[in-house]
Subunit: 103 residues, 2 copies
């Protein structure tokens, strides 16, 4: 599953938001939600698979943290879309300037 799909689920986005404050353990994360701990564990698995999170074992805990590179990946995509959109607009206004009356 890629980054976009991973961020598609609201709960997973909420997890990312939580981790914006910094690293935290699976249990701490789960405590913020009303769904079961295993459900969170599965979401965390998806996020790690997608490269959004990084896990670090620390004793019996597992500390999750954001991998900002993955968010950058999404940002890059958006950026590239905006660029293409902008140049499409350019072409459009160019066409309107020159060929106004055509069809």
């Amino acid at each position: 599953m890629d980054v976009f799909e991973a961020l598609g689920a609201p709960h997973r986005r909420a997890i990312v938001e939580l981790l914006g404050d910094g690293e935290s353990t699976a249990g701490q994360i789960a405590s913020h939600f009303s769904i079961s701990r295993p459900a969170i564990s599965q979401h965390l698995g998806v996020l790690v698979d997608a490269g959004v999170l990084h896990v670090r074992a620390a004793g019996r805990e597992r500390r999750y943290s954001l991998r900002t590179e993955s968010l950058a990946e999404v940002e890059d995509w958006l950026e590239s879309q905006r660029v293409r959109w902008a140049s499409a607009l350019d072409r459009l206004s160019e066409a309107m300037d020159s060929g106004e009356g055509e069809r």
Copy 2:
């Protein structure tokens, strides 16, 4: 369905990429994919609902175009995440500077 979920599906992202070149009709869009036309129609519906696309009826055609504001929404979210992440790092290094030996 919100923008994130809408962009979660690969086909829908591909549609957005297509529309980066400018407005186009449902049929034109569908012709780029191997899935059925109704399937594309449904994806278009989702994207419009999510505010990603705008439709304009033109005779018997329907012209779809990007609503860049919605992509900006996603970008804002990412941005805000990055800000929080950055300040979390600040707090961390601050803590390390001052209280090094604690814990």
